[in-house]
Amino acid sequence: MAANSAIPNVEKKVLVASLVFAAAMLGLIAYAAIRLGISVPTCITNVKPFEEGELIRVAPGRYEAHVVAKTWSFKPNRLKVERGSVVDFYVTSKDIVHGFMIERTNVNLMAIPGTVNYAQARFDEAGTHQILCHEFCRDGHDNMMGSIEVTR
């Protein structure tokens, strides 16, 4: 077979198919972000890093959790809310980098000293969710955890 100098048609089709595939996946992400409102943490400038951790009941079924991560605990580390509650989580770190994940939710954040991170979750089922630090933070990391109990 002779060497061709032009790009064969089949190769052009493959390029188009690859681009269509990438665009389709991207379209689904845009749909999830825009129509379903599932996004990622953004830059929070209106909340300054706080010193004390607390769970504030803003209204019935509405909470604000100010979580302080510090080697090797979260404050507060045992939270309790009633079923159907919506909780705004604000997370900061007092020393090194930690993680803050609540299993079976979309709350999965990095806690970075000097900053505040944010995510919201709604708890529709009674039960207990594990909270864990998922970024290595030296010796006590394996036991840096907490829980959130959802009551009936």
């Binding site: 493959v14 990622v40 830059c43 000097g114 864990l132 036991n143």
Partner: protein
């Protein structure tokens, strides 16, 4: 032919990191037992879990990959560009890399650098850890610089001729490496080393993370592209065929120069301090970088099919049977072929990770190591093992002892890494964290935090990790016996890497020159990184220390 005065350097650069790999792999196997709760200790035989994890990451993902890229680069560039590599630069580069690795090894093994291979500030390591890593990287730069004058001479003496494809791939690898290591060099030299020496009070952590992840994703292409060079340059020949499209080979390597860097924020989706809009831009650009890999999947599959049909392969899929899967003469083939099979799953799970909000499900769970063991410990590691054996034995004029065992190694490894990753994917979706000595809490029956439902995934992971360990032992068995075999000077002199001919040898001007692609890369980096950089610098984050 590979340049004669580079032989000793190539062998040194292949074998030195492989000796360290013995420890890196040992602690890989130990980790799966800690994580499964079989070892419920903070340390075992004098090595702490996190010290071992740091060494596992640094040795396997930084030292081995960097040394290999340089050694393989020396072989490909000198063979394809008429022995034009500067031996002085190669020697200086090798000396810096070996010295830097030894300097960094001190604090790692003394337990003064338990910071994992990502060394996230403000977790502080001993200054020698950072200094050693810098010397290693600078050594790789010096080795790369030693290829450039010879290449420019080659171009002048071959006007209008296409640069051989393997050399294009190696240069693309190191252009990416040169660009992406500059910001992390700033992080280490300006932020971390002075702070670690006690000269500054702390570190702007948000800035350090932005600089680190500017480097962190192109790093994976630095790992991957030497394997791609083998797939395009060597594998079609081993399969008895030709490279289906020379144009796509060039286009893919050059496109990676542009696309591999402006997307680092997809590692920072879960972080504060960076707007979600910038993260969305990087997510979109991440999908573009999937395109060269999709083109690669097509081109390589077509090349293999062509080779198999030349060997008498028939049917829609039956031609697969005509590839040299178990051929002892072509034992290198399964190291490349199975790497590609593993990479199918590695690539798909990578798309999950990059998918913006979907990242919240798996960020920092064991899903992540499950994914990257199907990339860096899949195609990359198998290519490194296979080519290290092929090259070191080849340039020394030795022969492969036990080629049947050599053929079996990639199959054992593939079984192991698939099993390992299956367990960790499963656990990750249930919320099992990565980078955690689970035996000390979640998988300790006596702990309040005990999670019996997390056990099964880690058990499967432990079985897989053990099989991977077995494959590494088999590899050293073949390597040591082969290096101890009788030497033939004639064989060493005639050794060369296999080079594939092109089936479609297109002549397209835009893929004949690096310059437009480097310019496009710089523009893409400026567009994607100036806005988040301005945002981070404008916020005046405090300097923090541990």
């Amino acid at each position: 032919m590979i340049q004669k005065n580079l032989r000793a350097i190539i062998v040194l650069e292949l074998l030195f990191p492989l000796i360290l790999l013995l420890f890196g792999a040992y602690h890989g196997v130990l980790q799966v037992f800690y994580r499964a709760g079989v070892i419920q200790e903070t340390s075992f035989l004098g090595i702490g879990y996190y010290k071992g994890l740091t060494a596992h990451g640094v040795i396997n993902a930084i030292v081995l990959t960097t040394f290999f890229a340089v050694a393989f680069g020396h072989a490909v560039v000198s063979q394809q560009l008429e022995q034009s590599v500067s031996a002085a630069a190669a020697k200086a580069g090798a000396a810096l890399m070996v010295f830097g690795t030894l300097v960094a090894a001190g604090p790692i093994f003394a337990g003064k650098a338990d910071v994992l291979y990502t060394f996230y500030a403000p977790m502080k390591a001993h200054p020698l850890f950072y200094i050693g890593v810098v010397l290693l990287v600078v050594g790789s730069w010096v080795s790369f610089w030693g290829w450039i004058p010879g290449y420019l001479r080659w171009r002048r003496s071959h006007p209008g001729q296409k640069t051989p494809l393997g050399a294009v791939g190696i240069f693309a690898t190191f252009i990416i490496w040169q660009m992406c290591t500059l910001p992390v060099a700033y992080e280490v030299l300006v932020q971390l080393i002075p702070w670690s020496l006690g000269l500054t009070a702390g570190v702007n952590v948000v800035l350090s993370r932005l600089l680190f992840w500017f480097f962190g994703h192109p790093l994976v292409y630095f790992w991957l592209l030497p394997a791609y060079v083998m797939y395009y340059m060597i594998m079609p020949r081993l399969a008895g065929g030709k490279l289906y499209s020379d144009f796509y080979g060039r286009f893919v390597f050059l496109a990676f120069i542009v696309l591999s860097t402006p997307l680092g924020l997809h590692h920072q989706f879960a972080e504060p301090a960076i707007s979600s809009g910038y993260k969305a831009l990087h997510a979109a650009l991440t999908f573009l970088v999937a395109v060269p890999s999709l083109l690669t999947a097509f081109t390589l599959a077509a090349s293999l099919e062509y080779g198999a049909r030349q060997n008498g392969g028939k049917g829609l899929f039956a031609w697969w049977g005509k590839l040299p899967h178990f051929d002892k003469e072509r034992w290198l083939f399964p190291y490349l072929f199975l790497g590609l099979v593993i990479f199918i799953l590695g690539g798909i799970t990578g798309i999950v990770n990059a998918s913006y909000s979907m990242n919240a499900l798996i960020h920092n769970t064991s899903w992540i190591p499950a994914h990257f063991h199907l990339t860096v410990a899949g195609p990359v590691f198998l290519a490194i093992l296979g080519m290290s054996l092929y090259l070191s034995v080849g340039v020394l004029g030795k022969k492969i002892v036990a080629p049947g065992v050599a053929v079996s190694i990639p199959y054992v490894w593939t079984l192991g890494v698939f099993t390992f990753s299956a367990g960790l994917f499963y656990g990750g979706l249930k919320g099992v964290p990565r980078r955690t000595n689970l035996g000390m809490s979640y998988l300790d029956e006596l702990s309040d935090a005990y999670r019996p439902d997390w056990r099964i995934g880690e058990y499967i992971g432990a079985v897989g990790g053990s099989i991977m360990g077995l494959a590494v032992l088999l590899f050293f068995y073949v390597l040591v016996r082969s290096l101890a075999s009788a030497r033939s000077e004639r064989q060493a002199d005639s050794f060369a890497l296999p080079e594939s001919e092109a089936y479609h040898d297109e002549d397209v001007g835009v893929v004949k020159n690096f310059r437009p692609w480097i310019v496009a890369a710089v523009v893409a980096i400026l567009i994607s990184y100036i806005p988040p950089l301005v945002q981070v610098l404008g916020a005046n984050y405090p300097l923090v220390s541990e």
